[in-house]
């Protein structure tokens, strides 16, 4: 059973070493985003453009976007091979191709190890990593995506 206090209010955690950080100059933006969300996709090219650093936090809303959990796991698995933002960019750039064969094509295109990708994206560790971001968003009161926070730090 989840402890009663585990989803109570807590401020947005500042960026840390375990975050996905796209480097840049100035204060970091922290973005809670859903890889299945059309609003996030529309906002992404602007958000992800330099110069500001960007911290990406997972916020999949599975009831609304049933494919989201798989997409977030795919991004996380790509991240384990150093290609997190490449996968995120690619998923947002082409929302019409997000089934498993389309993910495998991306893996090939990015030069990643497919066998490892498949193993990682179905792992409990990856699911827990995604859920950790999601819960930090819930605790910070995120009630829609994308949710953008400007904490002023470097994100590192």
């Amino acid at each position: 059973m989840t402890p009663p206090g585990s989803l109570t209010s807590s401020p947005v955690p500042p960026g840390g070493p375990e975050d996905h950080l796209r480097p840049g100059e100035g204060g970091a933006l922290i973005v809670y985003a859903d890889l299945g969300c059309p609003h996030c996709s529309a906002a992404w090219s602007e958000l992800a453009a330099p110069p500001r650093p960007l911290v990406f936090r997972h916020f999949p809303v599975a009831s609304k976007h049933p494919r989201s959990p798989a997409l977030h796991a795919a991004a996380e698995a790509a991240g384990l091979q150093g290609a997190f933002f490449e996968m995120v960019d690619s998923l947002y750039a082409d929302r019409g191709h997000v089934d498993d064969p389309h993910l495998w094509e991306r893996v090939e295109r990015l030069g990643l190890d497919l066998e490892r990708f498949e193993r990682d994206r179905h792992s409990g560790e990856v699911a827990a990593r995604v859920r950790r971001d999601f819960e930090s968003g819930i605790r910070a009161g995120v009630a829609g995506t994308p949710a953008i926070f400007d904490l002023g730090g470097s994100g590192e």
């Binding site: 059973m1 989840t2 009663p4 206090g5 585990s6 989803l7 109570t8 209010s9 807590s10 809303v61 599975a62 009831s63 609304k64 049933p66 999601f134 819930i138 605790r139 910070a140 009161g141 995120v142 009630a143 829609g144 995506t145």
Partner: protein, 150 residues
Amino acid sequence: MIAAGEPAPDFTLPDQDGENVSLSGFRGRRVLLVFYPMDFSPVCSDQLSIYQEVKPQIAEQGVEMLGISIDHPYAHKAFQEKLGIDTPLLADFEPKGAVARAYGSYLDGLGFANRTLVLIDEQGTVAWAYESPSPGELPGANLIFDALAA
């Protein structure tokens, strides 16, 4: 708006399947009423979708969550299917908004309820109530867990 310590007004409303649901039927369990303006507005969609993501954690606390708006059961059914949620949605449809009025959540002049969360204890007493500053502002699920942990 209704306040903690007051008895929760009983009601019977049809759900998305037209089945009558009475608050008194939940006596002995805790109930979270989620008043929201209307089905199919983009903001409502996010609120109920996100609550759905933490519904297991709410249920673990022995709490039944019920959505309520002024929409008809037919609209509720379609809305529930569109969002992929299984939270029961109650139709405060006829007389329009009567339950929202009883809880002090109805917005006269707008014709719908404000976003209001009401936690009712096992004895049918209001344990906590929260009204959003405006219908456009979504109460985060964290507020629910704060109330449950209090």
